[in-house]
């Protein structure tokens, strides 16, 4: 097992180099001048100053040299400056990461736990009215694009009912720490959390249902019933433990979204998180920020994939890894 983990960890390094290399190359093939913002801000910049700046930032170097320099900086945990904001990239990313974590952790906690409960209900009451209703609803909801769902909720709760704000994170004129501030912050979170939680439910509910149905067919459950255990104990103690194994892995695999956020939902609700930052930094040729965000997402993806495999082997002793 330890050997397996060590081998997988070693594989991560070339994988991350590959991902960063591809994205770095693609970003540098893009049209648009990274110095454009600076030219706008300083209109009296002369042509020779411009050339000097290009040399200073190394934009005239071949791409692989630029990549090497970037990589060396990243290893020293200093990804560089955002050209869009003129601040260290980490100072831009940190608040966005905090915002996204608040949003996605709430959505995941609500969405995944509801999904597991609903999945268990559907499996125990297979072919009941409730099961059909849930299966039908998740099928319909699966065909609803997330950005439209967000806009529809906005129409109902903001436009028609006027209960909730449409966008942003908190009203600027409120002072932090007051009760009004917290309430306003919560109100801003409700709609985006709801949209993200619904998409979590759609993905996990079906999975939980089919996983539990699979287990319910097993012989050892008949044994448990034959021993005279109550139905509650059979399901809760014997069936659920095994049915949750694949669900836990799915949850681990989808966890990187917690860090990366959702570009679509954050854009619809103008929520300043990682997904939106990824979008705006790519659109604005802010390479340093874009690359750092990409790397943060890539590292979490790779890490959680490994974690999922380890958890799977740990929970299910039938699976053995070879070193």
């Amino acid at each position: 097992m330890l050997l397996y983990v060590a081998r997988r960890l070693l594989q991560i390094v070339p994988l991350l180099l590959f991902i960063s290399g591809v994205i770095f190359l693609l970003l540098h093939l893009m049209p648009g001048d990274p110095l454009y913002r600076m030219l706008q801000d300083i209109p009296h910049l002369r042509a020779e100053d411009y050339e000097r700046l290009r040399r200073l930032y190394g934009f005239d170097d071949p791409v692989y040299i630029q990549y090497g320099k970037w990589l060396w900086q990243l290893i020293q945990l200093n990804p560089g400056y955002s050209r869009e904001y003129g601040q260290p990239a980490l100072d831009i990313i940190w608040p966005a990461l905090k915002n996204t974590l608040v949003l996605t952790l709430m959505a995941v906690a609500i969405g995944k736990s509801l999904a597991i409960l609903l999945g268990i209900f559907s499996a125990i009451r297979q072919y009941s009215v409730g099961d059909y209703l849930l299966t039908g609803l998740t099928f319909i909801a699966y065909s609803v694009p997330a950005f439209w769902l967000g806009l529809m909720m906005m129409i109902v709760f903001s436009v028609k009912l006027g209960w909730l704000p449409t966008s942003g994170i908190v009203n600027a004129d409120l002072t932090p720490g007051t009760w009004e501030y917290v309430m306003d912050w919560v109100k801003h979170l409700i709609l985006p959390v709801a949209v993200l939680a619904i998409s979590e439910i759609i993905q996990v509910q079906r999975f939980m249902r089919s996983s539990l149905l699979e287990v319910l067919r097993q012989d050892y459950l008949t044994t448990a019933r034959a021993k005279g255990l109550s139905e509650q104990a059979v399901i809760g103690k014997h069936a659920l433990k095994n049915a949750l194994i694949p669900v836990v892995t799915i949850i681990a695999v989808t966890m990187p979204r917690v860090v990366g956020g959702s570009t679509v939902v954050e854009t619809v609700f103008a929520y300043p998180g990682m997904g939106r930052l990824l979008y705006t930094s790519i659109m604005g040729n802010d390479y340093v920020v874009a690359m750092t965000v990409v790397m943060i997402i890539a590292v979490t993806v790779v890490f959680f994939n490994l974690l999922a495999d380890i958890i799977y082997g740990w929970l299910d002793p039938r699976i053995r890894y070879q070193g």
């Binding site: 893009m30 049209p31 950005f147 129409i155 990187p256 979008y279 997402i297």
Partner: protein
């Protein structure tokens, strides 16, 4: 004496099962209805795509403008129908191309095996490894807006699914007698792949095509909504929503309608995919229940 009953062919069994499937009818009806609507819809009214009428900005639906008008007084019915042509075309073309490209690559990998298989499957793995949203954003910014560009990007990212399905199908019957028979009769590798392996791996590929088409429409409308993908003046269900969303307090119906059509399209492809999966592979259908 001749037997009265002819052996029923595979496709006629599939067709019979498909017809029995109620869900299939709903999905198929939805799809044909949408297709006819976007083809005929614009001709029913006399407005043009970019016919601006500043006196009628963001009007509610009326007998003159069935779906109302947008922020420049353009007729929303015409815009949604023409946008639908674009969005549906993207879906159909991408679904079709991913399956042809991915199917051929998967059959090649599965049949030839060895180093070719290894190399092709590594490419598939690597495409899966890079976060999808990052690739979509970077590639569509790089390629620039345009119908052809978005189709190429989506095909380049989505063919992997069909390739995996075709490869595993081929692996499951590569060693069977009919392949050996064809080889013994002197069929070339290409002929074995195209005449014997391809028809036998069609079932999962057809399902994949339907689901890929839905996924492509979802991706295109999302990208177009974000301002990438299809861009004005060409309409798409996605970019119609972008401007409507800024006026959500004045004309919420203009936000509701384009999205409703995206929902119908995704729904019809998903229903069709589900029904086709049941019709083509009854074992799979039973296992899922």
């Amino acid at each position: 004496m001749e037997t009265a009953e002819r052996q029923e062919g595979y496709w006629s069994i599939v067709w019979r099962r498909f017809k029995r499937h109620r869900v299939a009818y709903v999905g198929f009806f939805f799809f044909v209805f949408l297709l006819l609507l976007v083809i005929l819809g614009p001709h029913v009214v006399s407005y043009q795509l970019d016919q601006v009428s500043l006196g009628e900005r963001m009007h509610a639906p009326s007998t003159a403008h069935w779906f109302g008008t947008d922020e420049l007084g353009r007729d929303t019915w015409v815009r949604i129908m023409l946008g639908g042509r674009v969005s549906l075309a993207v879906g159909l073309l991408v679904g079709f191309s991913t399956v042809i490209l991915g199917g051929l690559i998967g059959i090649l990998a599965g049949y030839v095996g060895g180093a070719v298989d290894n190399a092709l499957m590594r490419v598939v793995d690597l495409i899966y490894t890079i976060p999808r949203i990052v690739l979509l954003l970077v590639l569509s910014k790089l390629a620039g807006p345009g119908l052809l560009n978005i189709i190429i990007i989506l095909v380049a990212l989505e063919w992997t699914n069909a390739a995996r399905l075709a490869r595993s199908a081929v692996l499951s019957f590569r060693e069977q007698e009919f392949v050996l028979a064809a080889q013994c009769l002197g069929a070339s590798q290409g002929r074995v792949m195209l005449r014997h392996l391809l028809p036998n791996s069609l079932a999962p590929l057809i399902v994949a095509a339907t689901l890929d088409a839905g996924a492509a429409i979802r991706a295109e409308t999302t990208l177009s909504f974000l301002g990438l993908g299809i861009q004005p003046p060409m309409p798409s269900w996605g970019n119609l929503l972008t401007h409507a969303a800024t006026n959500i307090f004045i004309a919420p119906l203009q936000v509701f309608l384009p999205g409703l059509f995206i929902f119908f399209a995704l729904m019809s492809f998903n229903l069709l995919g589900d029904a086709l999966r049941d019709a083509l592979d009854p074992r799979l259908a039973q296992a899922r229940r």
